[in-house]
């Protein structure tokens, strides 16, 4: 009844299960990203390549896009959108410009993270060009203009009349970029 073989088998399979669940914990990370992408939660925006030959879709609909800028924590930069508001036609590409300035007498690297609200609109906000998710080096006292090229998808739900694009610049220390 001291079932040595059985004990070994049970122990081995349970250990395997433990390792599997540890991996599952890490598996939750990409799963979470996929889930957010599908549902548009988190306001993460979509990257697209612009098709120049595409015919512009003409609609009368005008969407109000507001631009917002933030600096996180101890980054000695200023960030401002050159335009507070744009009225855009869905299906057409537009350019917005942000001005970012390093006010310290020291070279500093930062990285911008975008976000769109309302969250549902993030599924329909497509960017062909963006300065986000990459390390941006600003020399001491340097000013730079950064461009975001975007379109609002024509399928944007009817009840969304305005949306906000927000950028936050974070200081890059030892933090690695994920892209």
């Amino acid at each position: 009844m001291d079932n040595k073989k059985g004990v070994k088998k049970t122990t081995a399979s349970l250990l395997l299960f433990t390792v599997f669940m540890f991996g599952f914990g890490y598996g939750l990370v990409p799963l979470y990203d996929v889930f957010c992408k599908i549902t548009g939660l988190n306001g993460k925006t979509i990257r697209v390549t612009e098709n120049i030959n595409r015919e512009a879709i003409v609609t009368d609909r005008l969407i109000k896009v507001q631009f917002d800028a933030n600096i996180n924590g101890d980054l000695p930069w200023t960030l401002q959108p050159n335009q507070r508001i744009m009225r855009v036609q869905p299906g057409k590409f537009y350019e917005a410009v942000y001005t970012v300035k390093n006010i310290k007498d020291k070279d500093i690297t930062g990285q911008a993270i975008p976000s769109v609200s309302p969250q549902v609109a993030s599924l329909y906000f497509k960017k062909a060009e963006c300065f986000c998710f990459v390390n941006q080096l600003l020399k001491a006292g340097e000013t730079k203009e950064m461009v975001v090229r975007f379109e609002v998808d024509k399928d944007l739900p009817e009840d969304v009349a305005e949306l906000t694009l927000s950028y936050t610049f974070f200081r890059v220390k030892k933090v690695a970029s994920i892209n």
Partner: protein, 531 residues
């Protein structure tokens, strides 16, 4: 080590320190677990006393806010991982081999290791109290980015959690391996005592959920020291992801604390109602359902982080669903008592109190599970009241009941029944004075984890603190009762309680160092006496 293992085959105990450090005997390791858990219960309790002293009056009196937050954080970690879980594992070690007619646990050396990791892990955790930047103060839930601001204590916190996880997983593997392979011939799974069943299911919860926590805290560690950004928005991560990972572990964890308690009262109530447990099979299925459902409700801890409405509805309904199997269990306990010839010795008193007070905690849990209402209750004292009803008057009361129920088997002596009853009534009254007013505080909007409060909350906080001090002092009586019982007293019979059933009562009291070296004969009569 090998000489000790060899010794085990003879019928004499190793002596001195060696007996305890190198022990592979399930009874000795069970005892070690129980003593360790009681010690941690008092250390965590002392921290609770500091919290209640600070909250006795509005304003800051005794400790600075940082230290207060450390107390809140470490109190939770110690009570969960140091007191309730090891006490449950200790009972499992002591009782499961006896209940299923096995000579020992399946993996005795791993058993030794899983215990001795614990003092080591808590030495790591408690040492942080003396470090620069103080002990962890970001809450036991370790949410980033706050927890990443912990000082020198941070890696100690993470590694302590890792070690606690490893210890618990080893314990869980051991329990499953024992129950699946070492039952006395003739005992089917559906003939096992319910305490054994609840521990098997708890073990699966441990193995499925703790590795996920280990992964989550490892991500915290690499975020802080190795430049990853799982939870750091600056690198494209998301702090809310940690909450999902944490509560994927955290919700099963609350059943890891509660299920063994269900098992305990399912042993004790039939014994003192002198009736078999009502609805044995439904109890097993209800326990399993609770365990499975517990993996699909985690987001009810985070209704306010900005979930989509469909998600909130899903997690609300799934949470409500858990009330069904839990209701089955409460119904069965009451039906077991129905028309029984009940007597109210101390274990039964604690068990009946468990049924009533755990149900109150369950009801406040239902209230918190309603999404729109939770927006009001979230992070208030209502939550504190809720989980202390299910953990203190729930889990701890059941553990006290277990201690009184099996003390005669462990020590060979009956404990002082009069003192036991005094301990029960003082505990019952003081814990309710302690926690009931916290419902009102929470409903009125008092936030948790804050050392100061608006004067409108002063009266209820003073009442609560008085209850807290009374409860704390009362537990010293428990220590006295246990020591007195271990030293001597009325000799216990093999079957220490008239109505007690199960194989553990077939061996003499105190249980000899080695039991069931040849498996017991499970005659029809014996099997009938099992449940």
């Amino acid at each position: 080590m090998s000489t000790i293992a060899h010794d085990d085959h003879h019928d004499h105990k190793p002596t001195g320190l060696k007996r305890w450090f190198f022990s592979t005997n399930h009874k000795d390791i069970g005892t070690l677990y129980l003593i360790f858990a009681l010690t941690m219960f008092f250390i965590g309790g002392a921290m609770a006393m500091i919290i209640r002293a600070e909250l006795f009056q509005p304003g800051l009196q005794f400790v600075d806010p940082q230290f207060y937050n450390s107390m809140v954080t470490v109190h939770a970690l110690i009570m969960i991982f140091g007191a309730v879980m090891p006490a449950g594992v200790g009972l499992a070690n002591w009782m499961i081999p006896l209940m299923i007619g096995a000579p020992d646990m399946a993996l005795p050396r791993m058993n030794n290791m899983s215990f001795w990791i614990l003092p080591f892990a808590f030495a790591l955790l408690l040492s942080t109290l003396f470090m620069d930047g103080g002990a962890p103060a970001g809450g036991w839930t370790m949410y980033p980015p706050l927890v990443l601001q912990t000082g020198d204590a941070f890696p100690f916190l993470i590694f302590a959690v890792h070690f606690l996880g490893i210890s618990s997983i080893m314990g869980a593997i051991n329990i499953i391996a024992t129950v699946f392979n070492m039952r006395a011939p003739g005992m089917t799974l559906m003939q096992m005592p319910l305490f054994v069943w609840t521990w098997v299911i708890t073990s699966f919860l441990l193995i499925a959920s703790l590795p996920v926590l280990a992964g989550g805290v490892t991500m915290l560690l690499t975020d802080k020291y190795f430049g990853t950004s799982f939870f750091d928005a600056a690198g494209g991560g998301d702090p809310v992801l940690f909450q999902h990972i944490f509560w994927f572990f955290g919700h099963p964890e609350v059943y890891i604390l509660a299920l063994p308690a269900f098992g305990i009262v399912s042993q004790i109530i039939p014994a003192f109602a002198r009736k078999p447990l009502f609805g044995y099979a439904s109890m097993v299925y209800a326990t399993a359902s609770i365990a499975i459902l517990s993996f699909f409700v985690w987001a009810h801890h985070m209704f306010t982080v900005g979930l989509p409405i469909k998600g909130e509805l899903f997690f609300m309904y799934a949470t409500m669903l858990i009330a069904v199997p839990t209701g089955v269990k409460v119904f069965n306990w009451i039906a077991t008592m129905w028309k029984g010839s009940m007597t109210f010795e101390t274990p039964m008193l604690f068990s009946v109190a468990f049924v009533i007070l755990f149900t109150i905690g369950g009801f406040s849990g239902l209230m918190l599970g309603i999404t729109p209402v939770d927006f009001q209750y979230h992070d208030t004292y209502f939550v504190v009241a809720h989980f202390h009803y299910v953990l203190l008057t729930g889990a701890i009361f059941a553990l006290m009941a277990a201690a009184y129920y099996w003390l005669p088997k462990w020590t060979g002596n009956m404990y002082d029944e009069r003192l036991g009853k005094i301990h029960f009534w003082l505990s019952l009254i003081s814990s309710n004075v302690l926690f009931f007013p916290q419902h009102f505080l929470g409903l009125a909007g008092m936030p948790r984890r804050i050392p100061d409060y608006n004067i409108q909350f002063a009266d209820f906080n003073m009442i609560s603190s008085i209850g807290g001090f009374a409860y704390g002092i009362t537990q010293l009586l428990f220590v006295y009762i246990v020591i007195k019982c271990a030293m001597g007293g009325k000799k216990a019979r093999a079957r220490s309680w008239d109505g007690a059933k199960g194989l553990e009562w077939e061996v003499p009291s105190p249980a000899p160092f080695h039991t069931f070296e040849t498996p017991p004969k499970l005659t029809k009569k014996v099997l009938e006496s099992l449940y």
